[in-house]
């Protein structure tokens, strides 16, 4: 943070500046323009757990990252789709970085793991409609 970070225009330039690099067997770290993995679990491991933690139990500091494990707010499947696409308060949206299939995959993974047992999967079409 350079700014420790520079202007938005520079950030865009930096995003454009980075190409595809097949660096990991699981397909992570392969593009800085979009996330590449398609699998819900791999997407969780390469994005969400940075904040919501590997066990999805969240973390507490000056504020907190909410637990996704056993989270009743995930019951309505449109809610996590909306949050992943648009972000919520300090959380950035991932709509620009993930396609519809990826959003559906990661939402379905979280809603069916970590003590969540919601069976009504979302489809790429649902995500598209929510954009």
């Amino acid at each position: 943070m350079s700014s420790f970070v520079p202007s938005t225009s520079l950030l865009l330039a930096m995003l454009v500046a980075t190409g595809a690099a097949a660096q990991s067997a699981d397909g992570t770290f392969s593009s800085n323009q979009r996330f590449v993995p398609k699998n819900g679990e791999v997407l969780y491991r390469s994005i969400c757990q940075g904040c919501h933690m590997p066990d999805a139990k969240g973390a507490v500091g000056a504020g907190k990252f909410p637990a996704l494990a056993r989270n009743e707010k995930l019951e309505a499947n449109g809610y996590p789709v909306f949050v992943v696409l648009n972000g919520l308060r300090g959380m950035p949206g991932f709509g620009l970085y993930l396609d519809d299939e990826q959003v559906a995959a990661v939402v379905n993974y979280v809603r069916s793991h970590f003590g969540n047992n919601y069976r009504d999967n979302v489809s790429a079409g649902d995500v598209k409609a929510a954009r």
Binding site: L15, A21, R89
Partner: protein, 532 residues
């Protein structure tokens, strides 16, 4: 214009001359370039005139915004008190050194094992010359600065998909790109292909300019010769005596350059914020926070986690707990409150402000970023590659390598910035355990500097979403959110006012935090003085 042309002519005469000859637009341009017309939002040390008559201000957050607000308000006669979540002063103005322990969210702990004198600035690391407030505070508080090298012509541009993964020197890519473009344009102009766009009079000037800019021959070709080697460097540099004859170097072809994508990095140093001269504090960025805090001893309560902020017609009352041990809820109160808590955190705290400010507080997401410091046994980048400071850029997930801009030619160990990322790579790095981030940064960096493998000793990695006091790198405004919420964020709400980089047009820059604090306290002071 050259010095000789300016000699004997006053600036006013010169401007008058330019105005007469070339019209007002040219005069304005000349004025700007002479430093007359460009306005700085910082006009020197703040003057808060008028007696606050013992008014008190509670400041939340001891980063640069909070520290500056506290110092200036105290000087103006206020009673000030600061609460800080972390166990250190400075916020994102932060330096990690050997012996420091850093525990990120999730409990992942790292022990910094750098040698004495070596450090990583996980947050801000450079100060542009036009960040006047930062430079003035450094000057006033005795913080020694040294040059931060942004552009190093001998550093590398690297793509793992171009030139068989071999890093290229910036001077080669820059000179050759400019030269080839100048050649194309020179030929087009000289063959009258751009006549509709260039007047006959301008054509001759343009051709002369292109030859000089691109190091072209008389026939507008960019080729291997002394002229181009004076730009890109020689195959064998000029020496002395009988064996001193230089060998010119061969430019890279235009097609290879275009396909390499390395041109993407050429404009970086042209960005206003990265123009020479930039600075860094000697010894680490937190020297600034430490210098400011020296005058606030006894006024900062560390380890104070704010849990609510409530105002009524008379006062602001804040509840807080010990950040580490929890325990009893304590309260602090004052007539006024300046809150510099990052919006990522503040949006989770119970605060009674109006709907407009509340909506603004919740409207700003915090960007991802990751920085990794790596210690090596020796300065191989200097010793083997002749890279003294500056930055190499790559399309690998580390994004760049920042070389130390100090201690040149030291024979001992050194720390470089082994990764500084935004976007998906930053999220992916943050999602890894710290040791794995370091391991991968070493493996990727070794593609540019093979010496990494033999020389690496230890590293430390900071993914900003896991920094407990901020949960992100900086407030990421969009045009839409700024239009809808920025003013509401900056307005004083009753007895509460916000400050920080998030309340500025300089996101993530320390200058933004300081200018925001100065603007906020000016407006608050006016209100206080008017009400008493």
């Amino acid at each position: 214009m050259s010095d000789s042309e300016q000699h004997g002519t006053s600036r006013r005469d010169l401007l008058k001359l330019i105005g007469t000859v070339a019209g007002s637009a040219a005069m304005y341009q000349a004025m700007t370039s002479l430093g007359v017309a460009a306005e700085s939002p910082y006009s020197g040390p703040i003057k808060l005139e008028g007696d606050p008559k013992g008014a008190s201000v509670l400041i939340l957050g001891a980063g640069l915004a909070g520290l500056v607000a506290a110092l200036e308000l105290r000087k103006a006669g206020y009673k000030v008190q600061l609460l800080e979540y972390a166990d250190r002063i400075g916020g994102r103005c932060w330096t990690l050194r050997g012996g420091d322990r850093y525990t990120e969210l999730g409990g992942f702990e790292q022990q910094c094992a750098f040698d004495k004198g070596l450090y990583l600035n996980p947050g801000p690391w450079r100060i542009p010359y036009h960040h006047h407030a930062m430079l003035d505070y450094c000057k006033r508080f005795g913080v020694a600065l040294e040059p931060f090298v942004q552009v190093n012509y001998n550093a590398y541009l690297h793509s793992h998909r171009a030139f068989a993964g071999k890093p290229q020197r910036l001077r080669h890519v820059l000179s050759d790109f400019n030269g080839h473009v100048a050649e194309l344009l020179g030929k087009a102009v000289s063959q009258n292909k751009l006549d509709e766009m260039v007047t006959q009079e301008d054509k001759e000037i343009l051709l002369a300019a292109l030859r000089r800019w691109g190091a072209l021959n008389r026939d507008y070709t960019y080729a291997a010769n002394g002229f181009t080697s004076d730009r890109r460097g020689y195959e064998r540099d000029p020496g002395g005596g009988l064996a001193g004859a230089p060998t010119v170097s061969q430019p890279v072809g235009l097609g290879d350059l275009l396909k390499s994508g390395l041109w993407r990095h050429l404009a970086t140093g042209n960005i206003y914020e990265f123009h020479t001269t930039l600075f860094q504090p000697v010894g680490g960025m937190d020297m600034i926070a430490k210098a400011l805090a020296r005058e606030l001893q006894g006024l900062v309560q560390l380890d104070a986690k704010v849990t609510s902020i409530k105002q009524d017609a008379q006062r602001v009352t804040v509840t807080y707990q010990n950040s580490k041990s929890g325990g009893d809820v304590r309260t602090a109160s004052a007539d006024w409150c300046i809150c510099t808590i990052p919006l990522s955190i503040l949006s989770q705290i119970d605060i009674n402000v109006g709907n407009e400010m509340a909506s603004a507080i919740s409207a700003v997401p915090y960007d991802a970023s990751c920085k990794i410091g790596l210690q090596f046994k020796r300065r191989f980048w200097e010793q083997d590659d002749a890279i003294y400071g500056g930055i190499s850029y790559t399309d690998l997930p580390i994004s760049l390598i920042g070389y130390p801009n100090t201690g040149y030619s030291d024979a001992g160990k050194a720390v470089l910035l082994g990764a500084y990322t935004f976007g998906p790579y930053a999220y992916e790095l943050t999602a890894l355990p710290p040791a794995e981030r370091v391991k991968r940064a070493v493996a990727w960096g070794a593609e540019i500097h093979p010496q990494y493998e033999a020389e690496f000793e230890n590293g430390i990695a900071v993914g900003w979403h896991r920094v407990p006091g901020v949960q992100g790198c900086y407030g990421l405004w969009s045009e839409e959110t700024r239009k809808a919420h920025y003013k509401n964020l900056c307005q004083i709400d009753g007895r509460i006012a916000l400050a920080g980089e998030h309340a500025s047009y300089l996101p993530a820059w320390q200058e933004g935090a300081v200018l925001s604090a100065l603007d906020t306290i000016s407006r608050l002071h006016q209100r206080v003085v008017a009400s008493r």
